[in-house]
Amino acid sequence: MLQIVNLVKRFGRGEGLPALRGISFRVEAGEIFGVLGADGAGKTTLLRILTGLLLPTSGQATVAGVDVAIHRNRLGEIIGYMPQTPPMPHDMTLGGYLEFWARVAGMPRGTRRETIDRWVGFFGLGEHVSMRVPDCITYVQRQMYLAVSLLSDPPVLLLDEPMSGLSILEWDHLSVKLRTLTEGGRTILLTSPKLATLRRVCSRIVTLADGRATSAYETPVLLKALGEARHARVFIEADGPRPSVVAALREVPGILEIGGSESALTLTAFIDPATFDAEKARQVLHEAGIGIRSIREPEIILGDVVRTLVRGESS
């Protein structure tokens, strides 16, 4: 349903700032597909290219067989799109908002009411229809935006961080509805910076970092790869001269590299999560006469994981 081949996007002239550096993947019809990546990884740029809002620098992307760079005026009929921060109306009711977008979409008067009622019913928004949108909770607003993107009943939905602002419970409820939407063969591509949200609903996930992408992994396979990640980062707040702290940290098992200083007291250390032990680190530093203020929980560095995966794929 979606095919992306060696897609490149640079902003600016000439070589420009690369946002996407040649990504390729394929999404099958009826699939819920996830794009995982931290902020700035290129997720929104990818969706904007797929909706025809941006032109790719090179490469090709097709949605339902339509080349997004050539037939951009046809994409509105194929794609329903929800931006990361959809427009928030301050003076409209939820029903009025849906009516407004149905009008903008050029929906005939005869079918407008019926279509709105259908999606209001699907998302269970009936009791909120006459509420002002800013007075609705985020979960209701999110469903309203989803209803807007579905008004013209598109076969493909592109959702930019649809779980933003939702609790895990709310996202679980919404995930059920997203799965229902694919039952008729509709394809959904959604983005998120959090694997925990994508794993609940996506069958396959592609990971983006610095504009590069891994292959599309089955979700359990990706979870395993991330679980085995050998790159993580900890922030260590220590009292003492930096050279002494660095020398002491080098003696701590599992520390691979000492990074830059975040502040006068805080150091970044890149670690092997399998062998690094925070208690052991405290002990070693204490024995060296260095006071420890805190050692934060290790964070997996998504970009490093992706680079590792990409290296693994190319080798």
Partner: protein, 279 residues
């Protein structure tokens, strides 16, 4: 298209910043008219060309001086606020992914902004002309002339809006606002009548030392386009434009219309090609 036009119209006229700019522009226009009347520009113009010496006719002073200077302000402000709002709220981004042609959405957006600007220009110009009519006895004011003043102000405002929204494709909103000042000065400086008239009025010099003789340069200036569009509706004795028999004059009444069509076409074309801007 109509829904989008109405949405942009409403969000523009209810914007506090746009209202403040509108009030400032309106007040400057009305006070300028009063000043022109009060300091010797009033009264019935003589039969000779006001542009050579006589200095009579506050209407002429208003048309040649203040109105062309004020007209670019609101369109630039409206285009800037709309671009900023679109970027902040993803409104245009959402609209452009709807199953309707992009040119139609672009036209709706443009119409909404143009309508909001027109509303202010209609009020400001009417008040300015009426101030002169009330303040200067014998001003040869007809319904036709007032209508022409208002219509031409709306037309030139719309031309300037088309220019600003087209430039917005290439610029970030803050750069658009920064560019508006040199653009405004530049478009007036090409044909400096408006600037000089303004300076003279501010210095209370009750004589006009320049003649507005139509040349091809007038196709590039706010003053030239404004006077050119207004000229056919102006009675002979007001002598807004000298040299009506020149080749340049033959085309100038249509200059603003030509610019409007051209700039609007470019705006819609670039909006279709680069919906989020070519940056």
């Amino acid at each position: 298209m109509i829904t989008l036009a109405f949405a942009y119209f409403r969000s523009t006229v209810t914007s506090v910043r746009f209202l403040i700019v509108s009030i400032v522009v309106g007040l400057i226009a009305a006070l300028s008219s009063w000043r022109l009347v009060a300091f010797g520009f009033g009264g019935s113009p003589g039969s000779s060309s006001v542009w050579t010496l006589s200095a009579d006719g506050a209407l002429v002073a208003l048309a040649a001086g203040f109105v062309p200077l004020l007209l670019p302000i609101l369109p630039t402000a409206a285009a800037y606020y709309a671009a900023k709002r679109d970027a902040e709220t993803a409104f245009l981004e959402s609209a452009l992914t709807q199953p309707v042609p992009r040119w139609s959405l672009g036209l709706g957006r443009f119409a909404g902004l143009a309508l909001a600007i027109a509303l202010v220009h209609v009020v400001a110009t009417t008040v300015s002309v009426l101030v002169i009519y009330v303040g200067a006895a014998g001003t040869p004011l007809t319904i036709g002339l007032v209508t022409a003043f208002v219509a031409v102000a709306v037309l030139i405002g719309t031309v300037y809006l088309a220019l600003a929204v087209w430039l917005a494709v290439f610029l970030r909103p803050r750069h658009l606002s920064l560019l508006s000042v040199p653009l405004w000065v530049g478009m007036n400086a090409i044909e400096p009548t408006a600037l000089l008239m303004t300076v003279q009025a501010l210095l209370i010099v009750p004589e006009q030392l320049l003649t507005f003789g139509t040349t091809w340069v007038d196709f590039l200036s706010v003053t030239g386009l404004y006077l050119g569009a207004l000229a056919p509706a102006v009675p002979e004795q007001l002598a807004f434009v000298t040299g009506r028999d020149t080749v340049a004059y033959a085309g100038i009444p249509y200059g603003a219309g030509v610019w409007l069509v051209l700039l609007l076409f470019l705006h819609l074309l670039f909006l279709s090609l680069f919906p989020l801007g070519k940056r």
